[in-house]
């Protein structure tokens, strides 16, 4: 799997990049690719997303220059911003097994955060990765031309108060957490990025 580090990149820009990678992956001009990056502040609503899960008026976010984007992935509402590692796996599914794919992303992230002293787990029925009862990583995947796009967002040093403005993933009463919060010490984005890249390399094999 090809791994590309993009640094900070705006949501829309990253989406266009994903789609162009997706087209090239569909025609087999590139191998499976994992885009790793961070986003400036943005709230995104999946197709199943309900704006009612946004707890502050869109206008007040707009006043702060924070966009709310509706996007073609599964899942409800989430937040992206500084301190959060975002990964977009562009993987060709020869024989689609989308649940296995989502479970594999979870497994990769559980492995990756363990290296920073954080024990996390899946909760059946609630896609994502959970440290105890708090969500450390969100997952929402889209498939087009049998290639995956969108992906996961792992909180490294994310400002968690940003999540309190939404019902996280449409789940009332669910809270977000981060590696820094759980581990009690602050890892560098680069270290987490490398751990996630290695774990994805191990777990996201064999779909093509």
């Amino acid at each position: 799997m090809e791994i590309v580090w993009l640094g900070e990149i705006a949501y829309r820009e990253a989406l266009e990049l994903q789609l162009s990678c997706l087209d090239r992956r569909a025609t087999r001009r590139i191998p499976d690719t994992l885009l790793l990056l961070t986003h400036p502040h943005v709230y995104t609503l999946g197709r199943a997303g309900d704006e009612a899960n946004l707890l502050v008026p869109k206008e007040s976010l707009a006043a702060e220059g924070i966009p709310v984007e509706r996007v073609g992935r599964g899942g409800d509402i989430t937040y992206h911003g500084p301190g959060q590692l975002v990964g977009y796996p562009i993987v060709l599914m020869e024989k689609p097994d989308i649940h296995k794919f989502v479970r594999s992303i979870e497994a990769a992230l559980i492995d990756a955060v363990r290296a920073f002293g954080v024990e996390s787990r899946r909760i059946e029925g609630l896609t994502g990765v959970w440290a105890g009862e708090r969500k450390i990583a969100s997952i929402g995947v889209g498939i087009r031309k049998w290639v995956t796009y969108h992906g996961f967002a792992l909180n490294v040093t994310t400002d968690l108060s940003r999540f309190r403005r939404i019902h996280l993933c449409g789940l009332k009463g669910r809270e977000a957490t981060s590696i820094a919060e759980e581990a009690g010490k602050v890892p560098t984005m680069e270290a987490v990025r490398d751990a996630v890249a290695a774990a994805c390399n191990r777990h996201l094999e064999g779909f093509a």
Binding site: D23, A26, T27, R28, G46, R47, A48, G72, R73, G74, G75, M93, E94, K95, P96, D97, I98, H99, K100, F101, V102, I123, E124, G125, L126, T127, I139, G140, V141, G142, I143, R144, K145, W146, L171, K172
Partner: protein, 450 residues
């Protein structure tokens, strides 16, 4: 040639998906691999590409409908010569898509029994036996089965005159005759496939052939207008669990007639304080108390052993808009009446928004089922494996009963209820089973719920 676009198999554990929206219209000319529609499952949204170039002949599923894998979603007429001139289907990546999974394509089959056919050009995995004949959604099939409806009698307003969920709901609302034939115990396993798999019952299952066919095999004669409703995966699980429970546990059903007037009194008092209580929390409360005193009823079977469970976790069947759920009240014996009541309200509310986690649906050690006001006088529930007992509420009816006061008999009007308890006679003897139900009745009649 007319080609079916079927709901693809999106993974081993994926049995159905929701149609999010259509990206094409009937009559539209389309290219091979052009996205036709979006479906959603779990947290994944997928676009389904067209298996072939042609013209969209039919769209058979509406957005919002849940469809099982292999159900026909749309039909595509590949012979566009017979129709208006074809466009130049030249999507930029069309030439290079030879390797694309072509498992979506399947040629049209005649509606009712058809012999398995060899795929024309596409090496698709063999479709499940009933595949492709599903012309109604699983929801409608389930509703029809539950209510014993003849779908041919219901005017359909869906695409191609198909009967939709709304049609069925309208029909049910308009004809009050709809009998509640819902099997009570069916409630339990519906959301508890876990229980069906629980290793605890394995040794027993090994002795009794596990995979005893649940479905009738012999083809029966069909009259015109008969409807064939293939089982949904959930229906199949229920069927398997029911048969297995009946084969595994010799059920004994015993009944108690309970005078609920003290319970009614407590309800009335609570109402004055602005708290609305149903009868169900009282029965759960009484059952939890009686279970604490009769450990053998709060047990599971594991091989040739009985496991007396330390904790009392009562699974309670709840009827919701989204079907039946069986949330588990953990440590029900430690909960007050009001706590039970508000936990049930909370389950009900969250069930509506689909936000009950699977964790909350497993681990029950005993079941209570309440078929509600249309539950009839009494019924004989089926045990939710691997548990050994289940309690069912009957309808509460005012009746004249004889009571003795100060040595004198008199006739009074009392709200009476039949309670049925089913227990597993492999494990529980009559003394214990009867003692348990008798105790539940005593607690309810005493009306002390502190």
């Amino acid at each position: 040639m007319l080609i079916d676009v079927v709901m693809p198999q999106l993974g081993e554990s994926v049995v159905e998906g929701v149609v999010v929206k259509w990206l094409v219209e009937v009559g539209e000319l389309i290219a091979k691999d052009q996205p036709l529609l979006e479906i959603s499952t779990d947290k994944v949204d997928a676009e389904i590409p067209s298996p072939s170039a042609g013209r969209v002949a039919q769209i058979l599923v509406k957005p919002g409908e849940t469809v099982p894998i292999q159900a026909v979603l749309a039909r595509i007429e590949t012979d566009t010569a017979a129709s208006p001139p074809p466009p130049e289907p030249a999507p930029k990546w069309d030439e290079e898509t030879e390797g694309f999974p072509g498992h979506m394509a399947r040629t049209s089959e005649p509606p009712i029994p058809a012999p398995p056919r060899v795929e024309p050009s596409v090496p698709a995995p063999p479709p499940p036996p009933e595949a492709g004949r599903i012309r109604i959604t699983p929801v409608v099939g389930r509703m029809a089965a539950e209510h014993g409806l003849d779908l041919s009698k219901i005017p359909g307003t869906g695409i191609d005159g198909r009967v939709t969920r709304k049609d069925v709901e309208g029909y049910l609302a308009s004809s009050a005759k709809a009998p509640e034939v819902k099997p009570v115990a069916a409630k339990a396993p519906e959301v508890k496939p876990v229980a069906a798999k629980a290793p605890e019952v394995k040794p027993v299952a090994e002795k009794a052939p596990e995979a005893k066919p649940v479905a009738a095999k012999a083809p029966e004669a069909r009259a015109d207008g008969d409807q064939v409703v293939p089982w949904t995966p959930i229906r199949k699980k229920i069927a398997e669990h029911m048969v297995r429970s009946k084969q595994t546990s010799p059920h004994v059903h015993i009944f108690a007639e309970v005078d609920m007037h003290r319970v009614a009194g407590v309800r009335a008092k609570a109402k004055l304080e602005g708290v609305s209580l149903t009868y169900l929390p009282f029965v759960i409360h009484a059952a939890a108390k009686a279970l604490r005193e009769t450990p053998i009823m709060n047990a599971t079977v594991s091989g040739e052993s009985t496991v007396l469970k330390k904790d009392i976790h009562i699974a309670v069947a709840v009827d919701t808009e989204k079907g039946l759920l069986v949330p588990v009240l953990r440590h029900a014996d430690r909960m007050s009446l009001r706590e039970i009541s508000s936990a049930m309200d909370d389950f009900g509310a969250r069930a509506k928004s689909g936000k009950i986690s699977p964790d909350e649906l497993s681990g029950g050690t005993f079941s209570v089922t309440n078929p509600g006001i249309k539950g009839n006088l009494f019924g004989t529930p089926i045990i939710n494996q691997p548990q050994v007992g289940i309690l069912r509420l009957g309808q509460i009816v005012k009746r004249s009963v004889v009571v003795e006061a100060d040595g004198e008999d008199s006739i009074v009007i009392r709200p009476m209820m039949y309670l049925c308890c089913a227990y597993d006679h492999r494990v529980i003897d009559g003394v214990a089973g009867n003692g348990f139900l008798y105790r539940v009745r005593e607690i309810l009649e005493a009306g002390d719920f502190s």
